[in-house]
Symmetry: C2
Subunit: 308 residues, 2 copies
């Protein structure tokens, strides 16, 4: 979800047109995915050619991405992905080699994230559009709204690596994102975290969303952010670390007492988790300890309504 | 799903790329929707501008259609729709009046079919692409594969009315399809039917699919097909009744002893059900009682693999 006003308009109108129903409404705006009454968690995300990917991505990378971006949303709720549907629009004439590559990447991601392709639709379209819906279960779903002042803020992995790949030559973080889905499920099921989300839009946009949902502010130490491997000399890492997104890592708010358990669980899942700041009572989201890299980072803009 | 060889290629490749998993595979090819172990039923369908709709459809009609075509797949399995996600790609610049109309039609259909919009994604695209996934529950799911020789074949409503609207001036059947979802659920829950599917691709394509899944043939009496209201003089109704599709009515195979109950249940749901033939042991799908309207109808072509 972007903060684009046109997109916010579309979402507002779609949500406003929902009819009143006898069944309780589902909050479709606040989290990475929606939680139904029975613990089913559902998320939808689509990829459009030349918007979400371009010629740098092989068709196999696009197939991988269609799965990875969606299971990331479930892991960020503490939900284990189970099934996935795909609606795939392809331009005519059909590029069969592209389809073969896409299917190979899709299949690799289905295996890696242990999710079943249970249905879909294929159709002609003016460009490649891959719309995925993924469903699963959360025993203890974690929302964005549970953060409390004093919580420690954590990020998994190395936010900014995808941005580095975008700006300075494609790398695996950009082309084959590896959202820590199993870690998200484990953090939730072990009751270690108060709030969680993925940072697919970048910390600069996503942290204010978590803060708004939780009714808190945040203080982030830029020096604590994990360094970017392969950063060219003279390049400021901060815009990549905070502003780019597409990392599909987790942003977590947790009681400080859980720090050792969180770090250990991350290591057990083959990744790292780094404390980068804390939640504050004052509702401001601030960077500390160095000059602001730009106006966009001094006070983050207010988050737009975003469906899951 | 069409029998287009390009589409069949895409589906084949996607299905072949699915990894072996420890969990049992879900049959994603044979029915209108997929049934998971816990009775959850899921279906995906997308609409593309200038492929599935054009300027004849108002934006509200497109919004209605995005819901109706999907809940039709669930009703055809005997499943009650519960939730729906929407990924909506829209060209830039954003046409706000179009979005308002789409949202109104979507909301009207959500209310009519009692289904909740629980999530989605909005994005820029080269044309309007509306990808919907719908989920629900079936207490007694009905598949295409349960038909037996001797079963009576029924259709609901008046197949061909959407085709009439397409060929001779838009009508409500074309612009605002009303799939008999409640009737499909009632037929299933009352154990009245052996096999069921919707005829979104037309009887000429869909009946052979039901027959192939059930390992049977069929005999259809064209004179028994419900007449088309408003048919212009001199127009042969049969190509519309059998070949066009987009009617989102039900095709049902049921023991002859259930005929009175089926007709009564259809009437109770505000529609009609008409016996049009029977299933046969010989695996041929034939029209009887009048000259064939064309080669396409003498022996229907074999069905393509189609995901749900």
């Amino acid at each position: 979800m972007s903060d684009d006003p046109g997109e916010a308009f579309v979402i507002r109108r779609l949500l406003a047109a929902r009819p009143p129903l006898a069944v309780p409404p589902v909050d479709a705006g606040a989290d990475d995915a929606c939680v139904l009454e029975d613990g089913t968690v559902i998320s939808s995300d689509a990829l459009v050619e030349d918007v979400h990917f371009d010629a740098r991505w092989s068709p196999a990378d696009v197939g991988w991405r269609a799965v990875a971006t969606n299971v990331s949303d479930l892991g960020a709720m503490g939900a284990r992905p189970d099934w996935l549907t795909l609606a795939l629009a392809l331009p005519a004439p059909l590029d069969r080699a592209w389809v073969d590559g896409f299917a190979a990447g899709l299949g690799a991601a289905l295996a890696a994230f242990r999710v079943r392709l249970v249905g879909g639709d294929t159709l002609r379209g003016p460009a490649v559009v891959a719309s995925v819906t993924v469903g699963g279960r959360a025993a203890r779903p974690v929302r964005r709204s549970g953060g409390r002042p004093g919580d420690q803020l954590w990020v998994t992995g190395r936010p900014g690596m995808a941005g580095l790949g975008f700006a300075h030559g494609p790398n695996p973080a950009l082309l084959r994102p590896q959202p820590p889905v199993g870690l998200g499920v484990a953090l939730a099921e072990n009751g270690l975290v108060n709030a969680m989300m993925d940072i697919s839009d970048g910390i600069a946009r996503d942290l204010p969303r978590l803060c708004a949902a939780s009714g808190v502010g945040a203080w982030v130490d830029p020096a604590a952010l994990p360094p970017l491997e392969g950063l060219p000399p003279g390049v400021d890492p901060l815009p990549l670390q905070l502003g780019f997104g597409d990392d599909y890592e987790l942003l977590v708010a947790a009681p400080p007492a859980h720090g050792r358990s969180i770090a250990a669980l991350a290591a057990a899942h083959g990744t790292c988790a780094t404390p980068v700041g804390r939640l504050t009572p004052d509702r401001e989201v601030v960077l500390a300890g160095r000059p602001w890299p730009g106006a966009a980072f001094s006070h983050f803009s207010p988050p737009a309504a975003a469906p899951c």
